[in-house]
Symmetry: C2
Subunit: 81 residues, 2 copies
Amino acid sequence: MHAYVYVSLKKSVLDPQGKTIQGALKKLGYRGLEDVRQGKYFEITLNGGLSQAEAEAEVERMAREVLTNPVLEEFRFSLED
Amino acid sequence: MHAYVYVSLKKSVLDPQGKTIQGALKKLGYRGLEDVRQGKYFEITLNGGLSQAEAEAEVERMAREVLTNPVLEEFRFSLED
């Protein structure tokens, strides 16, 4: 089973790295850009030892307690077989 | 319209950062882990100036030419209204 955790800065937090990427893309001539924000993404492979519900709880706990800085970031995750 | 670009290391490339996170999570007592890999994730807001097909082509081009290092990384993306 695979879990995908997406961590991004909260909307209220400035993202200078994203702004820099946006500026670079614009300078390079790419069209249609309004905003770019960068985040992190974790691909977690789970061994078969957990049930679907246990895996969901465990991944949610990892994301909340370790992978995300709750002051600045928010996360979402999905599980796939 | 929003575009989400996910960039990850190719399967054949070692990911020491992911391995470190995996070790840390294991030490902290999280169960069920087999592998962790870290990637980047870009959330791109597009202005309304492009059609769906144009936006798709433009985002694919940005991801391929700028956001991804083709030697080490691969990407996938999705568009949402």
